[in-house]
């Protein structure tokens, strides 16, 4: 509460003279209405005892005087313009961006940061005037428009209260684009397909309630948006979090495994925490880890750039930053390593015993799955180069390769096996199946005998112009040194097929989809018959380094081999591609919360699971099997989320928005209320005067 003097000294003097004036009026003779009575005899005797009372007693009993003085005092108070610091909305169009990422679940403010943010937003919504409109967007690494622009405060309140915390990372860009699409003309939230609400492009105030652990939003212009960033969180929260946890096979002792973890301390004090490793819920090992506190260091501009990529938000402190140097303070970090016997199929859990402000990053999971070999069938009348490439020790480690002549294709056993889908990959060399098997296929010198595939005119000496370096199948495959090819034909794939290798005659290597499988067709032979009937190599590719690389890519990608014991940890919210070990149509994924999701097979015999919102271990069961076929772990593993320190600013495109001290200070005036009370007292005084009531 502070006061603002609204009057000059002279005005004050006049105003302060009013109460004594009222008081003196009570001492002075009132202008009384004369009235003639038969006799004042009784009246005189009645007021006789009043006369003997002191004047103060008389005043004390005068309710009217009291009320009048009260009115004046209230008016004087109103002139002082008392007020208190509050938060007030500016403008008439608001967008509330509420961070509900993992770090907003931190409890450094006594309750979760999200609930604090919600409360502040509700405060602002309560202040909205009836003509104001507002929308509410919650964001983690995805945005969600909780409520589009509306006047209805109750609806806004309801939607704000509905926002639930997530365990995802923070990414503001989606939310900003959604907000900007509504505020700036010519922009839509998602390429015109998903414009959320018809709202005229008008300037709006953008309130960002976040702890600021957001990556820099590049290439973004705020346009009409007036950003206000309100950091949520204590300035020095204490948190130790696990930012990575993985298991590796011990290279020296194959029967052993090593588990590594990295812990970060976002507090300023060095701490020692106890971490406990459990295997399938049973205690395995524990260790004390000393983690230094947050350190302030000066880093160069180059480092700065790389740090920015990692850390995202520019965490520049107001030090002697300049000349390409800046000060940065990073959380203290320490690693811990455990050696353990190979557990086989197991879940490792690493937990920090100490409680801190952020519980979500105190536990990490790692899943050890048994390795899975690809089952590959090669149907060839004889291809030395291919067989050589498939017989390397690395190939033997990731795949079981069976080589059969083309005569096999007609056998019933093979047809049954192919239909049952026991192979992950069938390579047809110099032959083409009559019926496509339930497996991925690669056809060398031919195209699958199904609709959509066609081969063009055979041309001699196709020159390979380009390969797709991005596709896993042609990754690291450099075809520049393959100068000689005998002949070839352009391959046309079905709709949706992509060209992996281009020659001057047209696409030479094409990959296309087929009901959950993928087919690859190579438009030239590696070994084949020449025009004179002799059989021999028809390309110099097998003698180049790129050929075994291509074969290994095919085994890994089309064969779906899994070599590593430990499965890569997934981030919350990311889609996980599950490859079944058995050819099944459905897999069932059980989340840590116990929800079971049934997935249908997609391309490449894979199943895509996207409901990875909760940190923990997900079990996958294949078909009707009851046993868990494989597991995968979802971990937070975000240095940025674990670093609870609220950032003082966020960088939005070309603008740096300074955080406003928790809430936007605005003066809440009380004088209106005081005058209202004064008016009420005046009305009461009038009532008392007229009704002669004496309370």
């Amino acid at each position: 509460m502070n006061l603002i003097n609204a009057l000059s000294p002279l005005q004050w003097a006049l105003l302060l003279a009013v109460p004594p004036a009222i008081l003196s009026l009570y001492f002075l003779k009132l202008k009384r209405h004369p009235i003639e009575v038969p006799s004042t005899y009784l009246w005189s005797r009645t007021i006789e005892d009043l006369h003997v009372n002191s004047i103060w007693q008389k005043l004390r009993q005068s309710l009217l005087l009291f009320l009048q003085i009260l009115v004046v005092v209230l008016a004087i108070l109103a002139c002082l313009r008392p007020g208190f610091r509050g938060t007030e909305l500016i403008g008439d169009r608001f967008i509330f961006l509420i961070d509900n990422s993992a770090s907003m679940s931190a409890t450094d403010l006594g309750r979760t940061r999200l609930s604090v943010a919600q409360e502040r937003v509700l405060d602002l919504i309560n202040q909205m005037k009836s003509s104001d409109v507002a929308m509410v967007i919650s964001f983690s690494d995805v945005q969600r428009v909780e409520q589009s622009f509306t006047h209805s405060r109750s609806q806004l309140r309801q939607r704000v209260n509905r926002i639930q915390p997530t365990q995802r990372r923070t990414d503001l860009s989606d939310a900003l684009r959604a907000a900007s699409g509504l505020a700036n003309p010519g922009r839509t939230s998602e390429a015109g397909t998903n414009d959320y609400q018809v709202a005229e492009a008008m300037p709006a105030t953008l309130y960002i309630y976040s702890d600021g652990g957001v990556p820099t939003v590049p290439d973004f212009s705020l346009g009409n948006l007036e950003p206000v960033y309100i950091p949520i969180g204590e300035t020095a929260p204490e948190n130790v979090g696990i930012v990575s946890f993985s298991t590796e096979q011990n290279q020296e002792k194959p029967s052993q495994m090593q588990a590594y973890a990295r812990l970060e301390n976002s507090g300023t004090e060095a701490v020692t925490v106890e971490v406990e490793l459990t295997l399938d819920g049973e205690f395995l090992d524990a260790a004390n880890v000393d983690i230094p506190g947050r350190s302030v260091r000066t880093i160069s501009a180059q480092e700065n750039a790389s740090t920015n990529e990692d850390e995202g938000s520019g965490e520049a402190d107001d030090g002697e930053a300049g000349g390409g140097m800046r000060e940065d303070n990073l959380p203290g970090a320490a690693g811990v390593q455990f050696d353990l016997d190979h557990p086989g199929h197991a879940v490792l859990k690493l937990a920090i015993k100490e409680q801190d402000d952020f519980a979500l990053d105190n536990t990490a999971y790692s899943v050890v799955n048994s390795p899975r070999q690809a089952n590959v069938l090669v149907v060839t009348p004889g291809n030395e180069s291919l067989e050589l490439a498939l017989s390397t020790s690395e190939a033997a480690r990731i795949a079981t390769v069976k080589i059969e002549p083309p005569s096999l294709l007609a056998t019933k056993e093979h047809l049954a096996d192919a239909e049952a889908g026991i192979f992950d990959l069938i390579i047809y060399d110099q032959c083409v199946p009559t019926v496509m098997p339930a497996a991925n296929t690669m056809i060398i010198g031919g195209v699958p005998p199904v609709d959509g595939w066609s081969k063009g005119e055979v041309a001699s000496r196709p020159v390979i112009i380009d390969t797709d370096p991005a596709h896993p199948l042609t990754q690291l495959v450099q075809m520049g040194d393959v100068k000689y090819n005998y002949d070839g034909f352009p391959v046309t794939g079905p709709p949706g097929a992509s060209t992996l290798m281009d020659a001057q005659i047209g696409p030479l290597l094409v990959i296309g989809q087929r009901a959950g499988f993928e087919d690859v067709a190579l438009g030239m032979d590696i070994v084949g018959k020449y025009s004179d009937g002799n059989v021999g190599p028809k390309t110099e590719w097998p003698i180049r380094r790129s050929f075994p690389v291509f074969v290994m890519n095919a085994l890994r990608y089309l064969g779906g081999a899994r070599t590593s014991y430990s499965t890569e940890s997934q981030q919350p919210g990311t889609a996980v591609k599950i490859r079944s070990s058995l050819p099944v149509d459905q897999v069932h994924v059980t989340s840590p919360t116990g929800d079971v999701t049934t997935l249908d097979r997609e391309a490449q015999n894979t199943f895509v699971y996207s409901a990875t919102d909760t940190v923990g271990v997900y079990d996958t069961r294949e078909g009707r099997a009851r046993e868990v076929a494989q597991r995968f772990a979802v971990n937070m593993f975000s240095s940025r989320e674990s670093d609870l320190r609220p950032r003082t600013e966020v960088v939005l495109g070309y603008e740096t928005v300074e955080g406003q001290s928790a809430s936007e200070p605005a003066r809440k005036e009380l004088w209106k209320w005081l005058l209202l009370i004064a008016l009420g007292v005046l009305v009461f005084e009038w009532y008392v005067y007229n009704r002669r009531v004496y309370l």
């Binding site: 009132l30 209405h33 009235i35 004042t40 005899y41 009246w43 005797r45 009645t46 007021i47 002669r692």
Partner: protein
């Protein structure tokens, strides 16, 4: 029946008919001046035998019992009870305060005086109506007989000018003017700053059968006042400044009650009859009920 009686607003014919049957009663037996309809303590001329006594020289021979003289040869004189008239005085307070109210207290007082006076006239009593302002030089008329009714009403009608004579002085003057005994009905509001006690004391000294009828207006009983007022006394222009409030009104009521109780107490202790009435009480109710209960009329 004089025509002025019916025209007079003081008494209505119906009321006259009711009053005719009544008579004034005195708890004391007074000596009348003239022969009236009441037995006197004195022996005198009437049909009611009282006693015998010896004849002495100079006695009226008409009252000698000749039959007894024939038997006993002694002269005895027959004595009869004397029948005398009653002196009935009505003293009306005509101070300015009596002119308040609607009907005014004075009007009420005059009506009451007329009613009681008429009863007296019907019983051949000696009725005298006076006001506090009546001067010694110009006393009110003494009335006897029904025929005097019109004179009485005429006199009462003539009383309209208020005369601010203090109660004590007015009563004292009355006592000086009228030495006779009898019934006195004092009709007043008793609102005298000097107090009513000294005035009533004069009456006590006369050994009269005193009835004090205090007339108040409803405005005095329950004042309908609001706001900050300067009350001006109509008699002496005395001023009382009040701010009307509920406690003040409550206190007024208490004072009024104490005043009435005090007056009643004072009168009762001294053998005077006290009656409080308000101007909204009809006079016939007052006479036929209250005064009958008090024993003034029968």
């Amino acid at each position: 029946m004089p025509p002025s009686a019916t025209d007079s607003p003081l008494l209505s014919p119906q009321m006259l008919a009711q009053l005719e049957r009544l008579e004034l009663v005195s708890r004391k037996i007074f000596r009348g001046r003239l022969k009236g309809e009441r037995r006197s303590r004195r022996k005198g001329q009437s049909v009611e035998f009282a006693d015998f006594r010896n004849y002495v020289q100079g006695d009226d021979l008409r009252f000698v019992d000749w039959n007894l003289y024939a038997r006993l040869d002694k002269l005895f004189l027959k004595l009869f009870l004397e029948e005398e008239d009653l002196h009935f005085y009505t003293l009306i307070d005509t101070s300015a305060s009596m002119t308040f109210g609607d009907p005014s207290k004075l009007q009420h007082a005059k009506q009451l005086a007329a009613a009681l006076g008429f009863i007296g006239l019907c019983r051949a009593d000696r009725v005298k109506i006076e006001t506090l302002g009546t001067s010694l030089a110009k006393p009110g008329p003494t009335l006897r007989g029904r025929a005097s009714l019109w004179r009485m009403l005429e006199y009462l009608d003539g009383i309209d000018e208020p005369s601010n004579v203090p109660l004590a002085k007015g009563v004292k003057d009355f006592c000086l003017r009228n030495s006779g005994q009898g019934i006195l009905v004092l009709i007043t509001d008793l609102m005298d700053k000097a107090g009513y006690e000294s005035a009533l004391r004069f009456l006590l000294a006369r050994q009269m059968d005193v009835y004090v009828v205090q007339v108040l207006s409803p405005e005095e009983m329950k004042p309908d006042l609001k706001g900050d007022l300067r009350l001006v006394d109509c008699e002496d222009q005395d001023v009382a400044e009040i701010t009307v409030s509920r406690p003040l009104l409550d206190r007024y009521q208490k004072t009024l009650a104490a005043f009435i109780d005090g007056a009643r107490d004072y009168c009762t202790r001294r053998g005077m009859n006290y009656l409080m009435t308000t101007t909204d009480t009809p006079v016939d109710t007052l006479v036929l009920n209250y005064l009958r209960q008090r024993g003034l009329v029968r």
